[in-house]
Symmetry: C2
Subunit: 155 residues, 2 copies
DNA sequence: TCGCTTCCTTACGTTGACGTAAGGTTACAT
DNA sequence: ATGTAACCTTACGTCAACGTAAGGAAGCGA
């Protein structure tokens, strides 16, 4: 189906995402990512899937303030969901086991979603707060402008 | 105007916010907060203003993932704005200086707001993503339920 | 094959945000 | 006055998330 994807070197991935090699190694150490393969000499080779994962990691970490532990947890849930979906129509485990896995995943998703909801509320509050402050500051600047002008040369 | 506010001990503040004394000390060390006064023996006394500030710090840190450095920066901008507003109608500095301070503050506010905007977008994306996953998981559970029922006792 | 760059592993260093322990002082109820 | 709980300062410990340096192997264009 997919024709052999381009294999990305460490450098290529780092440049595209603004990360360092050390960061990739570290994320691999703690089980967040792993290279698709290695060269005969042991050099890591990544694919586009890893790049997408890394993008998500960066967003979750930098913009949303999740720790790498939390992120791993979230990614684990996602991959387990994919896993379940994969062998859903395919080979079959016990119905009960599959059910409980799905329930667990759903719970995690709901909890994550409520966390996100909370964060959004906080962000909205912050936004309102700072917008108000900005309005006041701009208003102050407006009035100052007038006094400034009227001082320099009236009319 | 304000009648002497209740003075809060370290313990009182910590209990209300779920923080430790060490945290208060640390925040004081790095210039985030400071006690309103001290007892003759050197014990710290806080007021309600500090509590509000701490609440904001906690929100910015835990929910929005800002570092204490970034937070100090934001609080600095806010307090400088208050400062400007205070001696706005009161004693007067040079108009130009005041203007440039206001401009600077406005810039910082705008940059902070755009950061917040970005975070909200990211959060919205995450939310959509996880809602979709949740929907699919729930759908899977629904269909499983039927097969489960029809297996056990049809009708 | 040579030279240069990229990459490997191993391992110690660093920074932020506190935790924790020590040794002594202050506040307050009895 | 006294016990004890809360507090003080000083200082070393810790954990996450990498940075950085060392010494050597792999890739690769000329």
């Amino acid at each position: 189906m997919e024709q052999a994807e381009a294999e990305l070197s460490v450098e290529a991935v780092c440049q595209r995402l603004g990360l360092t090699a050390r960061t990739l190694h570290y994320y691999e150490e703690i089980g967040l990512i792993s290279p698709k393969s290695r060269t005969s000499g042991g050099h890591r080779l990544y694919d586009e899937k890893v790049v997408g994962k890394l993008e998500q990691i960066v967003r979750l970490k930098n913009h949303l303030g999740y720790s790498l532990n939390e992120i791993r947890h979230m990614l684990d849930v996602e991959s387990r969901l994919d896993q379940i979906r994969l062998n859903a129509d395919n080979a079959c485990l016990s119905e009960e086991i599959r059910r409980s896995e799905l329930e667990e995943a759903a719970d995690m998703l709901r909890s994550t979603l409520s966390q996100i909801q909370l964060k959004m509320q906080n962000l909205q509050n912050m936004k309102n707060r700072y917008e108000e402050k900005l309005r006041m500051t701009e208003k102050a600047l407006e009035t100052k402008k007038y006094t400034f002008i009227s001082q320099k040369g009236s009319e």
